[in-house]
Amino acid sequence: MNKDKLLQMYYEMVLIRRVEERGAELYQAGKIGGFMHLYIGQEAVSTGLIAAREPRDRVITAYRDHGVAINCGISANEVMAELLGKVTGTSKGKGGSMHMASVEKNMWGGHAIVGGHLPIAAGLALGDQYQGNDNVTICMFGDGATNIGYFHEALNVSMLWNLRVLWVCENNQYGMGTAVERASAVSEIRQKAEGYGMKNGRVDGMDVLAVYEAAKESMDYVRRESKPYLLEAVTYRFRGHSMGDPERYRTQDEVKKWQDNDPIGIFRAALLKKKNISAAELDEIEARAEADTQKAVEFAEASPEPGMEELFRDVYVED
């Protein structure tokens, strides 16, 4: 990978972290409503994965979607504006934290019903197959989504119909507050693909370069063989499930242990081992991400609320 691409990935990871930290503050201040699920700790998964896609490859994910949106090229301004419910947001303020999308960036949404977007992902890939396209649909979901029927129906038809889907399970150890071992008959999620005869793999989701390599390889396979693949990324969310999480289900020691393995820290250390990248450059990127986050907050705060005409618009196409 060339230097520009590496630095861009670093920028995106730091930007996601900063945007979400500010988002959490704004939530506490009452400026963001509803549910908000932070991606902090998991940035390497989406960043490595999406860096490996071609622009024509589609992305669809669950409700922990701010990071995915940024990796897909949706601006921090639009993400922050959507969080604040402003008309300049990705979904004109009508979707909120869990529903960011951009058709232009081939990002087909954050989806809030656990597992519900998996059959839709199969449909995106079916649409491409029908039209003779060879793009891959990257479908991300949590470990919790692999215990619900949607997952199994979607994996089955993807294999049966030779659909180009890269299924990516972000195993962050908990479905809300229930540990994987307490919810899933097998805690190594990739094993579930075996039942469908589907190729699968497991990668360290805290290491963005490892995710990138695994993603590249599996995406090549999916495109070349016209078959789905299930990639499990082992990761951890540093924050609660959502903003209102008492975190009674895990210890501070456990969280601390994973935080010592911060994906941004790991990536920074790896970059500094390269001869052509200096600490000063990385500091400058961090400062830029900080400044862009500040600009995004200002943009979102200054943006107008959706007007009342938006209330009835887009229920149907002719509206």
Partner: protein, 324 residues
């Protein structure tokens, strides 16, 4: 005009639209090799091939989820649910995904999807396979719900549904596939969201749709023998609901009976009656009455099942009550 069955009308609409637009394709259980559980897609598989007449596993979430995904990227899927009762297995897609994706993502998405489903009682299929839960689906904004009562309407409305950029639930009645009617020659479309007077009359307004239309037409013939002229307004579309012809008729007759096959409680009749009261209260000369299914799960036994379903005598009795 050609005289064809409801089955032929639906089949012709599908065939013509598939010939016209390569983005249109069918997916569902037994739609292909089998030819459709109700033989609606007989011959399609051989003509259009397995990609455009796609057999699926018995997996309603996969069927509807895949149809929505394909619709998002520009295709026009027609997803067939073997019966509307199976929509409950995939309720999320019918009411929670297809009708909301456009709005929730700020108008970025289009979901040009048709869900065809067979419903209705009267075939001794037992409680889980005999329901007419139309009102449940009509409750949700973002979805269009169509349920024709004649071959002409079925063909014209289905063709419009396939061309619609919004999700449409197209409800067929299991006992009406053999119903015959006149259908115009050549291409025609019928707009979604327009009620229609199917029989003119001066004494009482019967508001109904689908199977209720068949029963109401028979009831009107009976009533005519006694000098009672019932005007029948066929809703044809449950959402968006067109109250225009209903109100116009009611303002003339001042009395109304609403006939539906589903349960009375929280049903189509409740909605229509409320709207008449809201918009034409001063015209009412009698309470608006409802004829609907008895409030029980449908039994298997034929006599009991028929007793639970609305029948022609129930309608004539209600009309006479309304005229008292």
């Amino acid at each position: 005009m050609a005289r064809i069955t409801m089955r032929e009308a639906i089949s012709q609409a599908l065939w013509e639209e598939m010939e016209r637009d390569p983005a249109v394709f069918i997916l569902g259980e037994e739609v292909g090799v089998w030819g459709g559980t109700y033989a609606v897609t007989k011959g399609f598989y051989d003509h259009f091939g397995p990609e455009r007449v796609k057999d699926t596993p018995i997996a309603e979430n996969a069927i509807l989820g895949a149809a929505i995904g394909a619709a998002l990227v520009g295709l026009r899927p027609i997803a067939e649910l073997m019966t509307i009762n199976f929509a409950f297995s995939a309720m999320d897609y019918v009411v929670n995904q297809a009708p909301k994706l456009r709005y929730m993502f700020g108008g970025q998405f289009k979901v040009p999807l048709v869900i065809r489903a067979v419903g209705g009682g009267g075939r001794q299929l037992g409680a889980t396979h005999s329901q007419t839960p139309d009102a449940v689906f009509a409750h949700f904004p973002g979805l269009k719900v169509v349920s024709p009562g004649t071959p002409e309407d079925a063909k014209g409305l289905l063709k419009t549904a396939i061309r619609s950029d919004d999700p449409v639930l197209f409800l067929e009645h299991a006992t009406m596939y053999q119903v015959r009617g006149e259908v115009p020659e050549g291409e025609y479309l019928i707009p979604i969201g327009q009620s229609k007077v199917q029989r003119p009359g001066r004494d009482v307004t019967i508001v109904t749709y689908a199977k209720g239309l068949e029963l109401s037409l028979k009831a009107a013939d009976e009533l005519a023998k006694e000098g009672i002229e019932a005007e029948i307004v066929d809703l044809r579309t449950l959402r968006p609901l067109d109250m225009g012809p209903v109100l116009e008729s009611f303002k003339k007759t001042n009395r109304a009976v609403i006939v539906e096959e589903g349960w009375r409680s929280y049903g189509v009749g409740a909605e229509v009656a409320a709207r008449i009261y809201e918009e034409a209260f001063d015209y009412a000369d009698a309470p608006i009455l409802r004829v609907a299914q008895k409030e029980v799960p449908l039994p298997y036994n034929r006599t009991l099942e028929q007793a639970a379903l609305p029948q022609v005598p129930d309608i004539t009795a209600a009309v006479k009550e309304a005229l008292k």
